[in-house]
C-alpha cells in the first residue's frame, strides 16, 4: 500500500507518522491537550485521504487464550462472536486469532482473544479521526505489530522476551516458539532509576511466567532489548546479574536502523517510531480490534481503490489492444502498398504487351460478347411462317373449315395456363386462329365434332405444344341460354359457324 497514516495511541498521547511506501515521515507526538488535538486535526488534514492504521498502546488491554470446540465457517464466527461478547461486554474493541488445533482427542481449536478494556481513552482521538473523514483501517495491539520484528531480526530462540521503550512506557512481549503469549506495558516512572526499574520488571516477568508454568525455571529466556535512543544500553547487564536462566540480546539504534530499515531521524522523533515503522511495513494484520462500524470507511476506500485499479487495468488492456491493432494496421497498409506497387508494374507490363494488339474499340471480352449476343438475338427471332404452314397443312384435310384471321405472337409462355399468378416461361410462338365452318345450322353435333377433330389434328403435330378451342360456335354450358329452330333440314341453307382456336408451339420451334 503506497501511503498510509500510522498512529500509536496511548492514554496520555498519540504519535503519528506518514508511511510513504518505504519510509516513515513526519513523525509527530501529540498529548491530550486541546491545543495538540487541534494540531492533530490539522495534521490529519494534510494526510490527503490516506487510510489510518491505529496502534493501541495501553495498560487497559486484555489477552487470553480460550479453547473452543472445532468449527468452521459461519458456525465458528457465531461461536467466537458469542464468546467475545460474553468476555468483553463493556467494549466494542475486541478481536480474536485462531492459534492452533490442540493435539487432544477432541482436536479443539485454541484461540487468542484480545480487547481494549477501556476504550474511552481513545475516544478523543477517534472523534477527531472520524470527523476528518479519513478511512480507518483498524485498531491493532502493539504486541501483534512487534511480532514482525522476530522475523526481521531472525530471532529464533524458543523463549523470547521483547523489551521496547514507548511513549507510554516499557513494553514486554513474551513470544514462545514464534507465537505470542503475554504482553505487559509498564508506565515509566518519572525521575531516575529507569534502567533498574526496567530490570526489575523483566525479572518479575520471568518469575510470573514460571509461576504460570508458561516457562520452566530451567528454560533459558532470551531478553531482546530494543533500544531506539540508546538509553537502555546497560539494561542487559542489570537484567542478567545473578541470573543463569536468562540471556540478553541488545539491539541498539544502529542495529535497528540497519536491520529493520527505519531511519535515525524518525527514531529520534519518537519512541513509538520503530513500531509505527513496523505497522507501516506490514501489509496484512489479522488482529484488528476495531468494530466494523469504525472501519466501514476503509472498506469503501478499498473498494474505491479496487475500482480505480480496475479502471487502470481496463485502460492498460485497451492500450495494449489498441497498440496491437495499430501495429497490425500499419503492417497491413504497408503490405497493401507493396502489393499496389507490384500491381502497377504488372499493369504497365500488360499495357506494353497490348500495344502490339490490333486496335479495338472495346475490350476483348466485350468484343466477343457483343458478337455472341448479336448471334443469339438473331437465333431467337421468329417469323410466323412455321405456324402458318402447320395451319395450312391441317386445313387441307378439312375443306369445310376456313381461316378468317390470325393473331400471332412471340413471347414468354406462362407456367400456369389457368391464369392467376402466372410465372414467365420460355420463349415460344402462340397464335389465336379465327375460323369458320360451313355447316347445316341444325347439325350441331356434326359441327362440334368437326371442330374438335380439326383441333386434335392440329395438336398431333410434333411442333405443337397445345391446341385448344377458345370459342365454340354455340355455348352449351348449363349456365348460358340457348335458342334455335328445328326446321326441316331439307329446307335449311348451310351457314358459317365462327369459332376460335388457340395454338402454342413448343419452345425453340
Amino acid at each position: 500500500m503506497a501511503r498510509k497514516l500510522v498512529l500509536c495511541a496511548s492514554s496520555s498521547n498519540l504519535t503519528a507518522g506518514l508511511w510513504n511506501g518505504r519510509r516513515l515521515e513526519r513523525v509527530h507526538s501529540f498529548d491530550d491537550s486541546e491545543e495538540d488535538q487541534q494540531a492533530f486535526a490539522n495534521f490529519l488534514h494534510s494526510a490527503h485521504g490516506a487510510p489510518v492504521f491505529l496502534m493501541a498502546d495501553t495498560v487497559d488491554e486484555d489477552y487470553r487464550f480460550e479453547t473452543l470446540p472445532h468449527a468452521s465457517g459461519k458456525d465458528r464466527r457465531d461461536m467466537v462472536e458469542r464468546k467475545l461478547k460474553q468476555l468483553y461486554r463493556s467494549t466494542p474493541f475486541y478481536g480474536f486469532s485462531l492459534q492452533e488445533r490442540e493435539d487432544s482427542r477432541r482436536r479443539d481449536d485454541r484461540y487468542l482473544f484480545a480487547a481494549l478494556t477501556n476504550p474511552d481513552v481513545f475516544n478523543p482521538w477517534l472523534r477527531i479521526l472520524t470527523t476528518s473523514g479519513l478511512p480507518i483501517a483498524g485498531v491493532f495491539p502493539v504486541p501483534m505489530v512487534s511480532l514482525g520484528l522476530t522475523r526481521q531480526l531472525e530471532l529464533k530462540d524458543a523463549n523470547l522476551l521483547l523489551v521496547s521503550k514507548h511513549e507510554a512506557g516499557v513494553r514486554q512481549t513474551f513470544v514462545r516458539e514464534s507465537r505470542f503469549r503475554i504482553s505487559r506495558l509498564t508506565p515509566i516512572r518519572a525521575g531516575g532509576g529507569t534502567i533498574e526499574s526496567c530490570a526489575e520488571e523483566i525479572r518479575n516477568t520471568r518469575m510470573y511466567l514460571d509461576a504460570l508454568n508458561v516457562t520452566h525455571v530451567d528454560d533459558v529466556l532470551t531478553v531482546v532489548i530494543l533500544d531506539q535512543d540508546g538509553t537502555l544500553a546497560s539494561l542487559a547487564k542489570s537484567v542478567l546479574q545473578g541470573r543463569r536462566n536468562m540471556q540478553a540480546t541488545y539491539i541498539g539504534p544502529s542495529d535497528i536502523t540497519v536491520k529493520v530499515g527505519v531511519d535515525r531521524a524518525a527514531l529520534a522523533a519518537s519512541q513509538d517510531a520503530l513500531h509505527l515503522f513496523l505497522l507501516g511495513q506490514q501489509k496484512a494484520l489479522d488482529f484488528n480490534l476495531a468494530p466494523p462500524a469504525l472501519t466501514i470507511g476503509y472498506s469503501r476506500h478499498l473498494l474505491s481503490r479496487g475500482i480505480y485499479a480496475a479502471s487502470l487495468g481496463v485502460a492498460l488492456l485497451a492500450l495494449v489492444w489498441c497498440g496491437v491493432n495499430v501495429y497490425r494496421t500499419l503492417s497491413l497498409r504497408s503490405e497493401a502498398r507493396s502489393t499496389a506497387d507490384i500491381t502497377r508494374q504488372e499493369q504497365q507490363r500488360y499495357q506494353q504487351m497490348t500495344r502490339s494488339f490490333p486496335p479495338t474499340p472495346v475490350p476483348s471480352d466485350r468484343l466477343q460478347l457483343a458478337v455472341d449476343v448479336s448471334g443469339r438475338i438473331a437465333s431467337i427471332a421468329r417469323l410466323p411462317d412455321t405456324l402458318f404452314g402447320l395451319v395450312s397443312r391441317t386445313l387441307e384435310k378439312y375443306p369445310g373449315v376456313r381461316l378468317t384471321g390470325v393473331q400471332w405472337k412471340l413471347g414468354r409462355g406462362t407456367s400456369d395456363p389457368a391464369g392467376g399468378a402466372a410465372l414467365a416461361g420460355p420463349l415460344s410462338q402462340s397464335a389465336t386462329l379465327q375460323m369458320e365452318l360451313i355447316a347445316q345450322p341444325g347439325d350441331m353435333k356434326g359441327t362440334l365434332s368437326t371442330i374438335n377433330s380439326f383441333v386434335r389434328e392440329l395438336g398431333k403435330n410434333d411442333k405443337v405444344a397445345e391446341a385448344r378451342v377458345a370459342k365454340m360456335p354455340v355455348n352449351l354450358g348449363s349456365s348460358e341460354s340457348l335458342s334455335g329452330s328445328t326446321a326441316n333440314p331439307r329446307r335449311e341453307q348451310a351457314q358459317a359457324s365462327q369459332f376460335d382456336v388457340e395454338v402454342t408451339l413448343k419452345p425453340g420451334v
Binding site: 469503501r300 473498494l303 474505491s304 481503490r305 475500482i307 480505480y308 480496475a310 479502471s311 487502470l312 481496463v314 485497451a318 489492444w321 489498441c322 491493432n325 495499430v326 497490425r328 494496421t329 497491413l332 497493401a336 502489393t339 499496389a340 507490384i342 500491381t343 504488372e346 499493369q347 507490363r349 500488360y350 504487351m353 497490348t354 502490339s356 490490333p358 479495338t360 474499340p361 472495346v362 476483348s364 471480352d365 466485350r366 468484343l367 466477343q368 460478347l369 457483343a370 458478337v371 449476343v373 448479336s374 443469339r376 438475338i377 431467337i380 427471332a381 421468329r382 417469323l383 410466323p384 402458318f388 378468317t404 390470325v406 393473331q407 400471332w408 405472337k409 412471340l410 413471347g411 420463349l427
Partner: protein, 206 residues
C-alpha cells in the same frame, strides 16, 4: 441498511464514474482501432485481387490477342449494320420504303415508340452489355400471306439493324368483285423490335 448503501454508492460515485468513462474511452479506442484493422485488411484483399487480375491479364494476353483478331471484323460488321452503336431510325424508314417496293405491297404505315431496355436480355445472356429496343408498329395490306414473309426478308436484306417480330395480326379483307385483280385480301398489323447493342462509351460523355 438502505441509507448505508446509498451513502456507499455516493462515496463510490467518483471511482465508478472514472471506471465508466475509462471503459467507454477504452471501448471506443479499441473499436476504432479494430475498424482500422478491418479497413486495412479489406485494402490488402482488394490489392491482392487487383494483382491477381493484373497477372491473369498478362497470362490471358495471348488468348486476348486471339479473341481480338477473331472478333474484330464481325464486330465492325455489326457496327456497320447498325446493330452495335446508336440506332439509325432514318435507315429503318428508308429500309421500310425499299422493302415495301420490293415486296410489291400497298404501302406501310409505321409508328416507332421511344427506346427502352430490351425485353429478352436474360435469354440472350447479355451480361454487362446494355441492349436497347425500339418498338415499331406496322400496318399494311397484303395480296396473300406469302407477301408478309417477302416483306420481312426484304427488310432484313437492307442491313440497317437487327429486328425481331414480336406479334402479327392478319385479318381477311372482304372481297370486292367489282375491283380488278391484285386487290389486297389481307390486312396485317405487326409489332417489330429494332434491337441495338450499346457501343463503346464516347470520350468526354459521362
Amino acid at each position: 441498511m438502505a441509507n448505508f448503501r446509498v451513502r456507499d454508492l455516493r462515496a463510490l460515485s467518483k471511482p465508478l464514474l472514472t471506471l465508466g468513462v475509462v471503459g467507454l474511452i477504452a471501448a471506443g479506442a479499441v473499436a476504432y482501432s479494430a475498424k482500422a484493422v478491418t479497413a486495412a485488411k479489406a485494402e490488402v484483399k482488394s490489392q491482392d485481387t487487383e494483382l491477381i487480375e493484373a497477372k491473369n491479364r498478362i497470362t490471358r494476353s495471348g488468348q486476348e490477342r486471339g479473341i481480338i483478331e477473331r472478333y474484330i471484323d464481325p464486330y465492325r460488321e455489326l457496327e456497320r449494320n447498325g446493330i452495335v452503336g446508336e440506332e439509325r431510325r432514318i435507315g429503318w424508314i428508308d429500309a421500310l420504303r425499299t422493302a415495301n417496293q420490293e415486296a410489291d405491297l400497298y404501302g406501310v404505315e409505321y409508328q416507332v415508340s421511344p427506346q427502352q431496355a430490351y425485353s429478352f436480355s436474360g435469354e440472350v445472356g447479355a451480361g454487362p452489355l446494355t441492349i436497347h429496343q425500339s418498338l415499331m408498329k406496322l400496318r399494311f395490306e397484303l395480296l396473300h400471306e406469302g407477301d408478309l414473309f417477302r416483306f420481312f426478308d426484304a427488310l432484313a436484306a437492307q442491313k440497317v439493324g437487327r429486328f425481331s417480330v414480336n406479334q402479327c395480326t392478319l385479318t381477311r379483307l372482304p372481297v370486292d368483285l367489282a375491283v380488278p385483280v391484285n386487290q389486297p385480301t389481307l390486312s396485317a398489323q405487326c409489332e417489330l423490335a429494332w434491337i441495338t447493342i450499346a457501343g463503346p462509351p464516347e470520350e468526354g460523355k459521362s
